[in-house]
Symmetry: D2
Subunit: 333 residues, 4 copies
């Protein structure tokens, strides 16, 4: 019973069907009819003019977004446990030409405006220090916490006042929207977000993420950088097809709700063991080594996050029986 | 009737089936069972120990291969019309940290050892000039010509004598092998090739190319660079599945033979109009503007390469009727 | 008798005196009084608001200038024999993050607008090709030819129409101005030049060149990039002192006139042997191997440029006797 | 009375004399006789074969040293207050192609092997994290503390065991040697240091630092990278002249001893106010805002390091009267 990673989950049937449907000759790269629909599809979803590009990984989406805002002699402020810092092998540095990530702190990998402002005030503005040009937040965070629209807006106001771009790593954006019940617009551009890495792969897709710019002019150079990075797929229509299928009938939200509900059920059973409230599809559980072993002995697969903490992730297609079994197993520890 | 690009063609049914089969939970990134089989599969195919990585585009494969051999203060020698120079928006420069492409000449985008040696002899070895560290050739070339094993070996001997790595852009490697009837080994490592970008997308795949290192130690750093570039797909098993399906029963060769045969049929009809012999699946045709228009009026889609030359590409699934119709149309010009 | 390179010449006494005068404690980096005077000094000289930064080499000046105008996914158009292409070990690529140099042709390393326009028209604007963002010319050129103000203005008009920045490598800018008798303004910003690498080292300085921006806002990020590149000298006042000494009383022009006059004298003796007219301080001479050897046997040191061509360079302090001796020796060949 | 920075101090007379002596025509770049003597001079000083390159700033020396050891997908471990992290505007990232600096802690900007080992053990070795390839320490540190030979050797043993290069930022290497009374060899290669940025500018030089490789083969590519970075000065003999003058008769040590003695005298007066022991030429003093103001009112210039701490730096030529005056002023607070 896999609770290892939502990356390990299945591709959902609607996406498989869309791939089959797309298997007709069409223009190469993003010259096909499906790719050409993306800008409009996201502009509809977000209720504002957007430029949207498919890419094949969240790492690429994040790095391209940051490269659109930050030059090599500048810096990105992010949480010290942000995915861009600890799990992307330096992709932001690669794409920006060596910009520095400046690492801020905050419980559950969340940043707050006062803390960021204080942190930024310690950076000298002379030429001996790289200057921040973007703030990057993850929603839902690496610990499965969400930023509500007002929290995003407060960070957006700070970024705006300081002249920084605001990037949202939304590998689990769908889970955040599902939890908050807000509109995608409320959680992004209305709060000052300039670029969103909108994840689909963890949520039922195969190999397509969307990089959405709410300042569409940022996409112009990005289209060249995407090609230059080898991310302009030859048969891009298959990437576009996945994304359009996920948007169709709000499949992205339905899948996320399913994953969140599974996590919530387990969280209920975990009670005091939870390291953080469960606000998306990830559960961080305080367990002893013996308890960890006991869970594994019952067939549950999961990551040891740090000693004493297990990470369990629910997928869009997590079988109800597995969820129930895990909830009981945790309750029975 | 599309003769625009093999990128525009369908994904072949075996690959679609393999994607469906792979749609089970498994390890993320390249931790799945299919990805773990790649090294062995290519070692078998090439009859030598190989390290093989899937990537999602030929541009990424090329750029990663070059970055494994060349540092920023060095250079790559390639043809002035090589794909890495004219169609990848500077990807080699990006991945190598700014290495220079040194552009050599040769008919049909083919390079010959004497010409390259003479070219290289004009490069001063002082620190004011970047020094070549790799030679990159394309087989089949951008004009659909093939390097035979002895031609590769002659270039390999030169590269070896000069201390350069040898990279082969094999976006149409399958077409070259199909034409030559040689073994994959004969056309690569036996002739001194260190790294091969082995293309599958133009040949029936969806989004998977293989980067094959015949000096497996070159893959070690490349695995980090692939991640850093955002090319380590979250659900990598779907990339591996495509490649394995293409290798199964030599599907890659069958598809290439089909495309080549279609092109050969058209070439027969073209006679003196051919800019180059047709040795793969591309046809470069001398046509007047009026002739071009006449072909288009009959429903044929193709690229105007340069004024007076049309490029027509046959796919693995080019319908026989379309091939026959085109052959007749050309003959009738 | 050295005619090898103006880099090999002495530092002129006024510069040595300025270094001695500057040897008092003052602010570090560019916080000293001398460095703070540079913007005003160049604004006066050029009769327009300028931002001017000292750097320690022409290569650094050129690369920083280009990095202010060109991003990694873009390109610089320059002559195929430009110093930035053949003598800087890829510095432009390093500083721009891997931009491509697109190489144009022209006699004597001079570019002309019609040729550049035709060349640029061959570049596709799709995302598969890097797009030019700057044109770089050298004045005087690598062959000692000068662009007159109207020639600069014609290239400036082209650059402006295409949206490119215009950079002038002025390692021998002083020699060009001395020859043309125009104002520094006429040869630069009035003709559309955005950034000038103004050379002093070849002309009597020790280790200071000026990077002059005629769009002063380009200097803002450059100040950070200069530090990041290690070119913000700890004791920058010694760099500023040299430049200010060279500007004082038009020493830069006097030195250049001396070097030019020496070259002109030799050119007179050379007649038909000249590969190009001598318009600055460099002479390219057609000589057989035997003639070359004969000159060397008489004690003259110079570079073999290519087989059959010798390069002879006159310095600001070239002794009159050496000049006369060389003129006679050439006449006597 | 300036205690702001040793960068603000005078160039010492022996260096000025050496510049005058070097003002004869000679080979350009590093082709002159003086530059060609550097390898031997440092090999003598360190009693082992060295390769030594002049560069014009410590930032360039540090960044080139790191680039010789670390690729873009790798990382450098250094102190969180190391100069390379907080005062070089991202130069290491620029030169390495975007390597990450991993920031460790330690009092007085000193690192200890146990702490570094524990820190390094938290880095996963999978491809999602950049892997350390070098350890960089500063001797004397940014707080004026020294690593003794056995401390260097312990870090060297750790670096060796982990496969990391060891770089020493020796902007104040002379001060450290002067304090410790050890041999330069004891403090460097005998303890496992691979590359040393040997500072001269803070110690009486004008614009020359030495980058010394104890694994001479590391210099081969660095010579190209130095040119590529614009740090191969046209008239390099003037850089070499300074360094050779500083080595002559151990001028470097005499100057450092003078600066250290001045600092020691002030430290004696400072007693409990010292933030750290004074082991080189820097004094970090606990002062209230009122005390700070009182010192300034008496004519002392210095940096406010952080609130409550003043930094005072003594130069090689700090007048005895100023030193005495400062000691009294501090005692009288």
């Amino acid at each position: 019973m896999r609770f290892l990673s939502d990356n390990a989950a299945r591709v959902c049937p609607e996406v498989m069907a869309a791939l089959a449907d797309a298997n007709q000759p069409d223009g190469a790269y993003d010259g096909d009819a499906l790719s050409q629909r993306l800008d409009a599809a996201f502009s509809d979803l977000f209720d504002t003019p957007c430029a949207a590009l498919w890419v094949s990984s969240g790492t690429a989406a994040n790095a391209l977004a940051l490269a659109a805002m930050v030059q090599g002699h500048q810096a990105v402020i992010c949480h010290e446990e942000a995915h861009i810092q600890v799990d992307e092998c330096g992709a932001p540095e690669f794409y920006t030409g060596g910009a520095k990530l400046m690492l801020a702190k905050g419980s559950g990998a969340k940043l707050d405006p006062a803390g960021i402002a204080a942190f930024a005030d310690t950076i000298r503005t002379d030429v001996h220090q790289t200057q921040p040009a973007a703030l990057s937040i993850t929603n839902a965070t690496e610990y499965g916490l969400v930023y509500a629209p007002d929290e995003v807006a407060a960070l957006g106001a700070l970024a705006n006042a300081r002249g920084w771009g605001l990037h949202m790593d939304g590998a689990r954006f769908a889970n955040a929207v599902a939890t908050l019940g807000c509109s995608p617009a409320d959680l992004t551009w209305k709060g000052g977000v300039d670029a969103l890495s909108f994840g689909f792969v963890k949520n039922g897709g195969m190999f397509a993420e969307a990089l959405v710019f709410f300042r569409p002019e940022l996409a112009d150079a990005t289209r060249y950088r995407r090609k230059r990075a080898g991310h302009l797929l030859s048969k891009g229509r298959f990437a576009a097809a996945q994304i359009l299928a996920m948007l169709e009938g709000d499949l992205w939200l339905r899948n996320a709700r399913a994953a969140n509900a599974a996590a919530a059920h387990i969280a209920n059973a975990a009670g005091e063991r939870l390291l953080h409230p469960v606000e998306a599809n990830e559960i961080f559980l305080r367990v002893t080594a013996a308890e960890s072993a006991a869970l594994r002995a019952q067939g549950f697969l999961f990551h040891d996050w740090v000693p004493g903490v297990a990470r369990l992730v629910c997928s869009w297609d997590q079988p109800a029986a597995e969820v129930e079994a895990l909830a009981r197993a945790i309750a029975g520890l």
